[in-house]
Symmetry: C2
Subunit: 186 residues, 2 copies
């Protein structure tokens, strides 16, 4: 087996999802995930510290895209308009073919729910930082970033059951618009 | 040693804080915490599932007080005014004598930082639920709850270094007011 596996990461995520669905998250080991993917345990550990990190694999990519979209928004864009740009940019990273399966698996495990919650916290921090870099003052930046995070979560929840039919970018920005209107009723 | 230890919980938290400060979080065991508190390991486990849960001990109490304050706010209070009531009610549960030590210990451990982040998520959920029970529509409730959570975090960070001199309730509600004003600049 060659040391360099171009699609190893994706295969490991797919194998983990299958095993978590079939036999449960708690009863699945790293060795089983690697075997199912046709890879070694050490290849697994070159990609992920532990099994709990497999489903949070996209976090770094998502945070990067969110921050880039915010940075590239027009100079006169409002904080929330910049967040909408970030969400549109991040939409490309969501994979419709595994969305429903991820949702189903996460629902079965407290540990995976905790991972998902931490992922949200990390993405909100990335958005807040990108907004501050645009000159948005701190409490406004943090609030806009939390709204982006809520919109991402709500958009994903609506998208996942019908991921092949709906546009995640449009759903996330719709939820952001609803939150913008909600801010007037506080 | 009697099986019923009236102040066991508090003693365990104090012992854990001392040991985490002295020798680090990772190198401290449940057995050491129990010994330092003059209690047994099984008494520890009657109070906490694991050492990582010791510092999140107040979460259930805080969530309960936040929700009660929100529920008891006047019927005509706005969602954010109800959240402010929750924060004032929760203020009583913060312990000034350990605030600075908790902050210092959490700063040394990624695992404890993750626990703290999850604690925030849980408290925001409790506030959102209490707002929905008041009849606040869902996106407004979630947004107001996130603002409460941001205010709690910012208020605690400002309070902890001088916990004996400042009023945590006043600090949290000041931060909430700042967030209310920020909502106009989104």
């Amino acid at each position: 087996m060659p040391r360099w596996e171009p699609d190893a990461r994706e295969r490991l995520v797919g194998a983990a999802l299958m095993l978590f669905s079939e036999q449960g998250y708690d009863d699945t080991t790293v060795a089983q995930i690697a075997e199912r993917a046709g890879l070694t345990k050490s290849t697994f550990h070159r990609h992920f510290p532990d099994k709990r990190d497999v489903l949070a694999a996209g976090q770094a990519t998502l945070s990067k895209l969110l921050a880039e979209g915010i940075a590239d928004a027009p100079a006169d864009a409002s904080p929330l308009d910049a967040v909408a740009e970030g969400l549109r940019r991040a939409a490309a990273a969501f994979r419709p073919e595994i969305a429903a399966q991820i949702t189903a698996v996460v629902a079965t495990s407290t540990e995976l729910q905790e991972r998902a919650a931490l992922k949200q916290v990390g993405m909100a921090a990335a958005m807040a930082e990108a907004l501050v870099a645009r000159g948005v003052p701190d409490p406004v930046a943090r609030l806009a970033a939390e709204m982006g995070s809520l919109a991402l979560k709500a958009g994903f929840a609506e998208w996942a059951p019908n991921a092949d039919k709906k546009d995640i970018g449009a759903l996330m920005t719709e939820h952001l618009e609803r939150l913008r209107k909600s801010a007037a009723q506080l």
